[in-house]
């Protein structure tokens, strides 16, 4: 019975022709897994390890290349006695390798150099040409590398045991029938030649955002089907609101963000410029996720700040200031019941949506309370003409803004840093943190708190603080993507609406008057899912970014007592706060 069981096992042989025997040795390096392999397969032939070697085998791994008549004979013998022949390593697959360098010299020359007139017997005399295995026999499979990584050998052994794969072959020539130009835009561009028509971007644009700026064009007729805007127009001339969700969902990288790196480098190189970085902490979350060994977000942020200073930024200011300026202002107006402040101006993409799709609602938007606009009017005043501003944000819609000199996404920031020779992980964390110039003194820590989206929640806390009354908040999920929050204050009731699926705005267009405050969040997961982040289609990754910011906020809040917090807000409102309007 045991014998029967043994017969069923796959018989494996590992052979070496002329080579350094590195691949064979590398298999023995699979120390922990070797026992498992030996249990699953029957190793019939492995000269380096065992002395009992026999043919035939089912799978033959052959390393090395054919350099002598003996090698050739052996190879023919192996081919006849195996089912699958797998070329292992660089020598066997592509006839690469150091051994082949001898082809550069004539045979006699090599002889005299190495053997010095000693006559070799026929069988061991080298062949004049060195060739890979597939020159002589059929090779079923190639495993490449010099040396082949151990994991790769393991991967293929298990794969062969499960079900032997088909031959690995080269792809056909590129099918390129139609010739469509790149769709260019201020914020990002689309390369139709890379598109594989998976329709993820079309889906998110039509079914989530409800805009439909892009669609599949030119069906049938032998034309190449691609995704494009209508008439190939640039994005901002069409219905596009520049939210950048298509960038995050594209699996093949057909969309690319406008690159500002060289522009920023020019700004930094000019000695007359006083360069100020406006850093959004949210931008650092995805950088840390993808490119850092650092585990503490607070420390990582400090490292980014010191790296920015290293490459020549004179000041690093937190972009959360802008959110707070706008937030305080809007909270005041909502309390007063201003008509003009009904729609939140946090999100540049949401403003684009109102502008392009619902122009009748523009009267409810106060463009003066746009965060970037508010912050810039303060900073431009304080730093004068020579100051240049670089915004670092995960939001690609800001790329279209005329208020700022350059906008970097997290990806571009990393390029800028690493091409300047700065490694964030090695940089010492900055001791100061964000610069605190031109902002009311004593309130810096609060201004560093990141308002987490949906931002109405932050607004609620402000409203609570301003009114000083016991709040009574009621949250109701009206439908998927729409949430209503009712706040009962001392003498009035405020109704706010949060729309996380912008296409639902169609339904609530008419009822804007009934609400005191409406917020639209186009990106999935808020700013943590912005288009400038590294692309992801996993909600867990987005959630992780949000929890990083949460942790960062808690750290700041835990430093301050509740009393100090309340006092600080009051101070901002009464004296310290300079309203630019």
């Amino acid at each position: 019975m045991w014998g029967d069981f043994m017969k069923e096992k796959t018989r494996v042989g590992i052979f070496g022709l002329t080579c350094c025997a590195g691949e064979e040795l590398n298999i023995t390096n699979l120390e922990e897994e070797l026992v498992d392999i030996a249990e699953m397969v029957d190793i019939k032939n492995y000269l380096m390890v065992q002395s009992n070697n026999e043919l035939p085998v089912d799978i033959a791994f052959v390393a090395g290349f054919v350099a002598t008549p003996e090698d050739r004979k052996r190879l023919y013998e192996i081919r006849e006695n195996c089912k699958y022949l797998i070329a292992l390593g660089s020598c066997a697959t592509s006839c690469g390798g150091i051994h082949n360098m001898r082809s550069r010299y004539a045979l006699e020359e090599q002889y005299s150099e190495v053997y010095d007139n000693v006559k070799l017997e026929k069988e061991f005399a080298p062949l004049s040409e060195v060739k890979p295995l597939d020159y002589y026999v059929d090779v079923d499979y190639y495993i490449r590398g010099c040396p082949v990584p151990e994991e790769e050998i393991l991967y293929y052994i298990f794969k062969f045991i499960r079900n032997p794969p088909v031959k690995n072959e080269l792809l056909p020539v590129n099918i390129q029938t139609g010739n469509y130009d790149e769709v260019r835009g201020m914020a990002f561009s689309l390369d139709p030649k890379k598109c594989v028509v998976c329709r993820r971007c079309v889906n998110i644009c039509q079914k989530h955002i409800g805009v439909g700026a892009i669609d599949i064009i030119s069906r049938g007729g032998g034309a190449r089907v691609v995704v494009s805007t209508f008439f190939g127009d640039s994005f901002e001339n069409r219905e596009c609101i520049l939210c950048g969700q298509c960038l995050t969902v594209c699996p093949v990288g057909a969309y690319s963000v406008r690159n500002d790196v060289s522009q920023v480098r020019d700004i930094l190189d000019d000695p007359d410029n006083f360069v100020i970085a406006l850093l959004d902490p949210m931008a650092c979350t995805s950088m840390m996720q993808h490119f850092s060994r650092e585990e503490n977000f607070h420390l990582f942020l400090r490292r980014v700040i010191s790296s920015l200073r290293e490459i020549g930024f004179d000041k690093v200011i937190s972009f959360t200031y802008a959110y707070h300026l706008s937030l305080i202002h809007q909270a005041r107006h909502v309390l007063k019941g201003d008509e003009q402040e009904k729609i939140a101006t946090w999100c540049p993409a949401a403003i684009n949506l109102i502008r392009k799709k619902y122009p009748s609602l523009l009267k409810f938007v106060n463009m003066e309370t746009e965060p970037l606009h508010m912050l810039m009017s303060i900073l431009r005043n304080d730093f004068g003409k020579n100051a240049k501003f670089v915004l670092i944000t995960p939001c690609v819609a800001y790329k279209n803004s005329g208020e700022i000199d350059a906008v970097l996404t997290p990806r571009e920031l990393r390029h800028l840093l690493s091409s300047s020779g700065v490694d964030i992980d090695i940089m010492a964390p900055d001791k100061v943190g964000f610069d605190r110039e031109c902002l009311p003194s004593g309130m810096m820590e609060i201004m560093n708190i990141y308002p987490l989206g949906p931002l109405a929640e932050s607004l609620l806390s402000y409203i609570h603080l301003f009114s000083g009354s016991e709040e009574n908040i009621q949250r109701v999920q009206i439908e998927k993507g729409v949430e209503e929050i009712v706040i009962r204050l001392k003498n009035s009731t405020k109704r706010t609406l949060i729309i996380t699926e912008p296409r639902k705005m169609d339904k609530y267009q008419e009822s804007v008057k009934d609400y005191d405050y409406i917020e639209i969040v186009p990106c999935i997961g808020g700013c943590a899912g912005g288009g400038g982040h590294y692309p992801t289609s996993s909600f867990d990754v987005i959630q992780e970014r949000r929890s990083m910011i949460d942790e960062y906020n808690n750290r700041i809040v835990s430093k301050l007592s509740r009393w100090a917090l309340t006092r600080a807000y009051e101070n901002i409102l009464k004296e310290g706060f300079r309203c630019p309007l």
Binding site: N174, V197, R199, R411
Partner: protein, 226 residues
């Protein structure tokens, strides 16, 4: 609690109970059976374009077998699904080939290189024709070619995880050079655009691929002598 009657389906000879509203893909994901997807977006679970066709599964057995996309096929009582038969495998392999054939492979300046879904698909379904650049996370100004290094990334077979370039060292081309004309053409283009001496590229290619035939093709396209 739920009044919906569950249906009994068979997935890879495994009998399971499923909601009649569920699709085959959801049941497989729940069971931990791997089915490749490309157009399916986990962020928008309800909207399934079903356009990439990578999630093809076999329904039925023997002569009555037919193939359907798992993301769109609803479960029904008595459904027999096979997710990994040799036929399904080769069908998916053809799909990967055709998807990749229409995709311009200028991986050195692709925003998602290092995170490309094609790398995994090509590895699982034994399709060649991608280069090390597809796995290399360096791009734009970080790219070793932009720094003037003679890297063989745009010409070399993928699969190593770009272990050298990740450490900041140029690619030696140890896995062999892709003999595909399109790839050689685009590699010549990128070397020219980055201002790299093509003669030096040929010298470097000789280390691991002295007589593989790619060098002759490269010289012919680039217009340099060996």
């Amino acid at each position: 609690m739920s009044s919906i009657r569950k249906v009994r389906v068979k997935i890879d000879d495994l009998e399971v109970l499923a909601d009649p509203e569920e699709k085959v893909l959801d049941v497989c994901r729940r069971l931990g059976i791997h089915i490749p997807t490309l157009c399916y977006n986990p962020l928008l679970k309800e909207e399934r374009p079903g356009s990439c066709r990578l999630c093809m599964v076999a329904i039925g057995k023997g002569e009555k077998v037919y193939y359907r996309e798992a993301c769109k096929t609803p479960v029904r009582s008595g459904l027999e699904v096979y997710t990994n038969t040799p036929d399904v495998h080769s069908l998916r392999r053809d799909i990967v080939e055709f998807l990749l054939a229409r995709h311009r492979r200028n991986c050195w300046d692709c925003p998602i290189s290092g995170n490309c879904p094609f790398v995994e698909l090509c590895r699982d379904y034994d399709v060649e024709g991608l280069t090390v650049c597809a796995e290399c996370p360096l791009q734009g100004e970080e790219c070793l070619l932009s720094r003037g290094e003679i890297c063989l990334g745009p010409l070399t077979y993928f699969g190593c995880g770009a272990s050298c370039t990740k450490q900041g060292h140029y690619c030696f081309g140890c896995r062999g050079l892709v003999p595909h004309e399109d790839i050689i053409k685009s590699a010549v283009e990128v070397y020219k655009s980055k201002g790299i001496d093509l003669q030096k590229v040929v010298e470097r290619m000789e280390l691991f691929s002295y007589s593989s035939g790619v060098i002759e093709k490269f010289c012919e396209i680039a217009g340099v002598r060996r």
